[in-house]
């Protein structure tokens, strides 16, 4: 993708977000969309691991939840300004995930998924029971300061502003991933994912790239968690539970992980389905489950994959038509 195309796509995405923030007047709808965008960032983190390492994590809720806890505890103890706390939390997640990644990415397949599940559940139980530090099962409020990165809390309390902040962060995350993955790092991680043995035989030391992808995907999930903490001002152990990782994975499967924009699409579809189907059925998840099965069977590359095939097919037909017209 050329720089011009990346720049234009970014500008278009930001403009689309601004249009939604301006045109949607319902606070409830904006709130729903904000949640979808937060989970879109989270799902992008999960999908990154799958896309670049070919690995499925059942434990990314750990990074989604722990970022909120980390900032909450730091602010409660008044250790540093909130802005610094946000940056230190993300750096801490990246470093910790890289260190853990150096060990667990060596483990292939389902065993890796089970390890992520075990680590995640360990933190879920710790947060649930450390009442003095985390508030235990009741959770904890986060004492965000009156202004954050120069934006007053009173402004952030407006649904349209919060939506725009979350949307901008999502676009920024996507932009950074596009820039990182289209370069040498992206090619190396794809090579390791496709054929680790051959990668070693072309001079690639395969452990570091895999651990780096794990750290990057954890950090992206952590960004989602910070947005969630900012949106609700609250964090509780439920956010660390494996089922949250499961929901993120569902979004990835529905949206498709091969295109970077697949997981955000999956998150939006999930939240819209939850809202719309929830009005008609208590057990809306059963209907969503059937839809999930349909996607897996008919389009394993998700909705994004299906749309890509559709547009590719149309382009081919149009090109063939143009050639035929010339003759």
């Amino acid at each position: 993708m050329s720089n011009l195309r990346v720049g234009m796509s970014t500008a278009a995405a930001l403009a689309a977000g601004a249009a939604v923030a301006l045109l949607v007047s319902s606070g409830t709808v904006l709130s729903l969309l904000t949640q979808a965008v937060i989970y879109a960032v989270f799902a992008t983190g999960i999908a990154l691991l799958l896309r670049q390492n070919g690995m499925v994590s059942f434990g990314h809720a750990l990074f989604f939840g722990v970022s909120g806890y980390a900032v909450g505890i730091v602010l409660q103890l008044k250790l540093m300004p909130a802005e610094l706390a946000v940056l230190v939390t993300l750096a801490g997640i990246a470093l910790a995930a890289f260190a853990v990644g150096l060990v667990i990415v060596r483990v292939p397949g389902v065993a890796f998924s089970m390890l992520t599940l075990a680590i995640g559940q360990m933190f879920f139980l710790t947060a649930s029971r450390s009442r003095g530090l985390t508030g235990g099962a009741d959770g904890m409020n986060i004492d965000w300061p009156a202004t954050l990165f120069g934006v007053p809390q009173s402004l952030l309390a407006r649904p349209a502003v919060m939506f725009m902040v979350c949307w901008s962060v999502l676009v920024l995350v996507m932009l950074l991933l596009v820039l990182v993955l289209r370069g040498r790092f992206g090619a190396i991680t794809e090579a390791v994912r496709d054929n680790e043995e051959r990668a070693r035989f072309i001079g690639i030391r395969t452990l570091m790239p895999r651990a780096a992808v794990y750290a990057l995907s954890a950090t992206v999930a952590g960004v989602g968690g910070l947005l969630s903490a900012l949106n609700t001002g609250f964090v509780s152990p439920e956010i660390l539970h494996w089922s949250v990782s499961g929901v993120g994975l569902m979004m990835v499967v529905v949206g498709g992980y091969k295109a970077l924009w697949g997981p955000p699409l999956g998150a939006i579809v999930y939240f819209l389905a939850r809202d719309v189907l929830g009005d008609y059925a208590n057990h809306w998840m059963a209907i969503f489950g059937i839809a999930l099965i349909a996607v897996i069977v008919f389009s394993p590359t998700g909705i994004a994959g299906a749309l890509q095939r559709l547009f590719k097919g149309r382009k081919t037909v149009l090109a063939a038509g143009a050639v035929a017209a010339r003759h």
Partner: protein, 239 residues
């Protein structure tokens, strides 16, 4: 000082009580093609795995250009010029042809990796397929790409494990011709494991015959072909 680019000295690979390879010594001279033949399970591929560091030695030594590389990992040996292809095509399926060859070249530390990749693609006739995703190539083209990945960075030794497997007769002959030309044009020495006897005896300078993890014959192709033990163990009396 010998002109050996590769020496395997008294190499043994044992799996518990099973002696997959036992006391094998091989030498490869500069610019030579050295064919390894033998029945399935004779230990040919295991020897290649041992030389490249894919399998740990139970006993013995591997010398590359006079340096003992027995304790080095696969990547380190590759960086020193010891390259290989695999019995089953080993490429990066979801990556475009040129992208993966250029990546390999870059990782091998070649300064102008673009030029090196272009040269390798041209050598193996892959230039017109540069932008095609590897999994969309035909089988013969994938085998050539496998060889291209092994050739980047100008290795001094190339270990090829059944490179003709699954190819048509014409494709096999083309590849054999290519290999012969490569040894002089690219200054590379080749250790070739192959079941196509016409190819092995046609292009090898030396042939070694394996049976049950041991060498039973070694020498010039004509002498090996005439060896009664080889005829009995592998080639059959009609050979």
């Amino acid at each position: 000082m010998s002109d050996y680019v590769l020496q395997a000295q008294d190499v043994a690979i044992h799996y518990g009580g099973v002696k997959a390879v036992d006391g094998v010594s091989l030498t490869l001279e500069r610019g030579q093609i050295h064919g390894l033949i033998g029945p399935n399970g004779a230990g040919k591929s295991t020897v290649i795995d041992a030389i490249t560091g894919r399998t740990r030695l139970t006993r013995g030594k591997v010398m590359l250009g006079g340096e003992d590389v027995s304790e080095l990992g696969t990547t380190e040996r590759r960086m020193r010029g010891l390259s290989r292809s695999f019995q089953r095509t080993s490429i990066f399926g979801q990556m475009a042809v040129r992208k993966q060859v250029e990546l390999a070249s870059h990782k091998m530390g070649v300064k102008d990796s673009d030029a090196d990749a272009d040269a390798v693609l041209k050598e193996l006739g892959l230039t017109p397929l540069a932008d095609v995703t590897a999994e969309d190539l035909g089988y013969g083209e994938q085998r050539r790409l496998d060889l291209a990945l092994a050739l980047v960075g100008r290795p001094s030794v190339l270990l090829l494990d059944e490179p003709m497997a699954g190819l048509s007769v014409k494709e096999s002959l083309d590849l054999a011709k290519h290999l012969k030309a490569l040894t002089s044009r690219w200054d590379v020495s080749v250790l070739l494991v192959e079941h196509d006897m016409d190819v092995v005896f046609g292009i090898s300078d030396v042939v070694t015959v394996f049976e049950l993890g041991r060498v039973i014959a070694n020498g010039a192709p004509a002498a090996v072909r005439a060896d009664p033990r080889v005829r009995e163990a592998y080639l059959g009396s009609a050979a």
